[in-house]
């Protein structure tokens, strides 16, 4: 096993880190997430200029290790730009399933001129699934969709929606829908991001590629997005721990800095252990995809560990800060919010543990 980043990957990491560090400090981030859009078009076009918005659009290369590198930096800064949900996640679906004409949309996406969203989740979805209620109905040569998708992350600002819908003869198909044609209920999420409920009511839709069962493509898309979320969580955990250790070194009580109290430093050490275990599992998920192995069990393994580590680090980082950690002005609570949101996106720890239990009798030794 080789866990070293290549020179190109290290450069991508540094470029992304510098771009976002120049852009956001906690104060400017707090300001932008309160704006109408919730993120910055200007930052979006700079991300496009560095090629970040087109990662993973080459059908032959998953680019998942590169996506992992970028998402970790996004997590570190809590950048609100919907890189995963408005570009990379749904973009990869088009790259794999779309017709040649549809794939040309990706040039606009990569250039930052077209926003996507993956409208898949529905009421009652807990564990990742490709089975949906939203129905696709053929109308001669064209199709319409009816049903409700919620939550659709980045669905508030999308130009084009990638929508899953049940086919009349069984299976789940994928469709492109013009966002102008749907009814949206936009909202903020508790972690400062944006989403929407999207209602389809006889809405015209264009099959993504052929109107055939795309369940395995949906599962693959979910695995890629789960892996990217894990990478983002690692960046957020790393920064939450850094903020916490800096605070322990600076904050004085009883006449000494808090790092003189072993009860606190030992808890920080446990946070570090949680972080490293999460980082290992996140690498594992991304590297597996990069090797062409899009295994939902691996995604569940990673997501379970990230959920456990993220929850511990979120809770402990607030506790070790004390009252200041509760304020919206101070950044650490925002990391806790984002980590909590990630845990509950595409399967919580509980859901993934159940998925693992379903297979537990099938093997003797747990193997990578």
């Amino acid at each position: 096993m080789d866990f070293q980043l290549s020179d190109e990957q290290a450069l991508l990491r540094d470029t992304t880190r510098e771009l976002l560090a120049r852009t956001y400090d906690p104060e400017s981030r707090n300001k932008i997430i309160e704006s109408d859009l919730g993120w910055s078009r200007d930052v979006w076009s700079r991300l496009a200029d560095t090629g970040i918005l087109g990662l993973g659009f080459e059908p032959d290369e998953s680019g998942q290790n590169e996506i992992a590198v970028v998402l970790t930096e996004i997590g570190r800064r809590l950048a609100p730009e919907p890189v995963l949900h408005a570009a990379l996640g749904p973009g990869a679906v088009i790259a794999h399933q779309g017709s040649d004409a549809q794939k040309r949309l990706l040039e606009e996406v990569a250039a930052g001129r077209r926003l996507l969203a993956f409208a898949h989740l529905e009421a009652g979805h807990r564990k990742p699934t490709a089975t949906v209620i939203t129905a696709a109905v053929p109308q001669g040569d064209s199709w319409t969709l009816s049903g409700t998708k919620n939550p659709v992350l980045a669905g508030d600002s999308a130009d084009t929606l990638v929508v899953s819908a049940a086919l009349p003869d069984g299976g789940t198909g994928l469709f492109l829908v013009d966002a102008e044609a749907v009814h949206r209920h936009p909202y903020p999420t508790f972690d400062g991001q944006r989403g929407a409920q999207i209602d389809f009511d006889g809405t015209p839709a264009e099959p993504l590629g052929d109107a055939v069962d795309a369940s395995s493509a949906i599962r693959d898309a979910i695995v890629r997005i789960q892996s990217a979320l894990c990478s983002e969580a690692v960046g957020a955990m790393e920064e939450a721990l850094r903020l916490t250790t800096d605070y322990l070194k600076a904050r004085k009580q009883f006449g000494v800095t808090l790092n003189k109290f072993q009860a606190l430093t030992q808890r920080a050490a446990d946070m570090y252990v949680s972080l490293e275990l999460a980082r290992s599992m996140s690498f594992y998920a991304a590297m597996s995809i990069a090797d062409g192995n899009l295994d939902p069990v691996i995604a569940s393994r990673a997501k379970l560990q990230i959920g456990r580590s993220g929850r511990r680090i979120a809770q402990e980082s607030i506790q070790l800060h004390g009252g200041i950690g509760m304020t919206a002005e101070y950044p650490v609570g925002h990391y806790a919010a984002r980590l909590t949101a990630i845990e509950h996106t595409l399967g919580s720890s509980q859901d993934h543990l159940q998925l693992l239990i379903d297979h537990i009798a099938d093997y003797d030794l747990a193997r990578l």
Partner: protein
């Protein structure tokens, strides 16, 4: 970034797999699989087979029987050995005193001790801890006073694992009680257990077993040529020794085998169908995989040969998961865990030994630097707290 082994590494792994299963007697490996304790002869038998094939001390310098392997190869060697349930070569010889002698000893002392240490013709035990020097090892009080060509040793060591089998003991002794720093007055001395004035007293542990001892030294005369390296430099050598045990310290392979045993019995008893139990086993398996990957990261980052402070993570999580595995087996056993040595009863032997092993394994988070010490290392060395 690449997950898979290289073709060379895969071939190396397959070769070791074949060797371990073909050359180490099946009955020894089966005892290990069941978690039974091995006799002195059984441990030595396995050690000798490994040594006869040049596989007991790969971590030593090549001149003294080591292998010019990559860090990944060393890890594969340890992992496959554990997965094959091979009794590991005696740690005290191969990972503790051997490397110290090879690194710091004179030519004479190397020639005298390294070959019998590799071949386990000398069985070593460790004389570090004392009743008043546990985590605070540098406060040790056993003294060695130079008298002509000898040192005269007085004091007491404790927690001496398998001292009852040992031919020799390597000791940290205080040679300069007036040193400005207490770490500066310590030396590393090799002592024949048959020397007059040494008394060994067994300590019975909470599992009813006997694996550690107290060792008393009363005016024990030790030839001065059994000093390793320089006088009063012993603390440096001890730190080298303690930081040296990187590969295999987490016991990932061993714990995998233990969890597989837990699963086998839970399947047979039907407990695996209980989602509450299955959840705990699944969680333990997942945590073990996360540790395995973390170990691979530490190994591939440690190519320069320096101890990596992240090895504290391996020791800590490794010991915790070893304990979890023993705990789960007791739960599978349930009331059948209560009898011990109950021959011809309905309680199967694995169940009868499960609680003793669980109790015994509470040691893993205490020895080798307690987990609280590991947390302190992480907090200070890695987090700068």
């Amino acid at each position: 970034m690449k997950l898979a082994l290289t073709p060379e590494e895969a071939a190396f792994r397959d070769e070791l797999r074949t060797f371990y299963t073909a050359e180490i007697p099946e009955e020894l490996r089966e005892l290990m699989r069941q978690g039974a304790s091995l006799s002195k002869d059984q441990i030595a038998t396995s050690h000798k087979i490994l040594n006869d094939h040049g596989l007991a001390v790969p971590n030593w310098p090549v001149e003294w029987g080591g292998k010019d392997w990559t860090a990944n190869q060393h890890q594969i060697w340890a992992d496959e050995m554990q997965l094959a349930c091979v009794p590991e070569p005696l740690n005290f010889n191969t990972k503790m005193v051997g490397p110290v002698i090879a690194e710091f000893g004179t030519r004479e002392i190397k020639e005298r001790f390294l070959p019998p240490t590799a071949s386990i013709d000398i069985w070593w035990c460790q004389g570090f801890s004392e009743p008043e020097a546990g985590s605070d090892l540098a406060s040790l009080r056993t003294t060695a006073v130079r008298d002509g060509d000898s040192y005269v040793v007085n004091g007491q060591k404790t927690w001496t694992t398998l001292g009852q089998y040992a031919d020799w003991i390597f000791c940290l002794v205080r040679t300069d009680p007036r040193a400005p720093k207490r770490q500066a007055g310590i030396s590393f001395l090799l002592i024949d257990m048959a020397t007059p004035g040494i008394t060994l007293r067994p300590i019975k542990l909470i599992d009813g077993g006997y694996e550690v001892n107290e060792v008393f030294f009363e005016d024990v005369r030790v030839p001065a040529n059994q000093l390793v390296g320089e006088e009063n430099q012993g603390w440096t050598y001890a730190k080298f020794l303690l930081g040296n045990e990187r590969t295999g310290i987490a016991g990932v392979g061993r714990t995998k085998v233990r969890l597989a045993e837990v699963k086998k019995h839970a399947k047979a008893t039907g407990l695996l169908d209980d989602p509450l139990f299955a959840a705990r086993l699944a969680e333990a398996e997942n945590e073990l995989l996360a540790l395995e990957l973390t170990q691979s990261r530490v190994v591939s980052d440690s190519a320069d040969g320096q101890p990596n402070p992240a090895s504290s993570v391996l020791k800590m999580r490794g010991s915790q998961l070893q304990q979890v595995a023993t705990e789960l087996l007791v739960e599978v056993a349930g009331p059948d865990a209560l009898p011990v040595d109950g021959d011809d009863t309905a309680s199967p032997p694995w169940a009868q030994s499960s609680a003793r092993r669980y109790l015994n394994y509470r040691k893993t988070s205490i020895y080798g630097g307690s987990n609280e010490v590991q947390r302190n290392i992480i907090a200070s060395t890695i987090l700068g707290l």
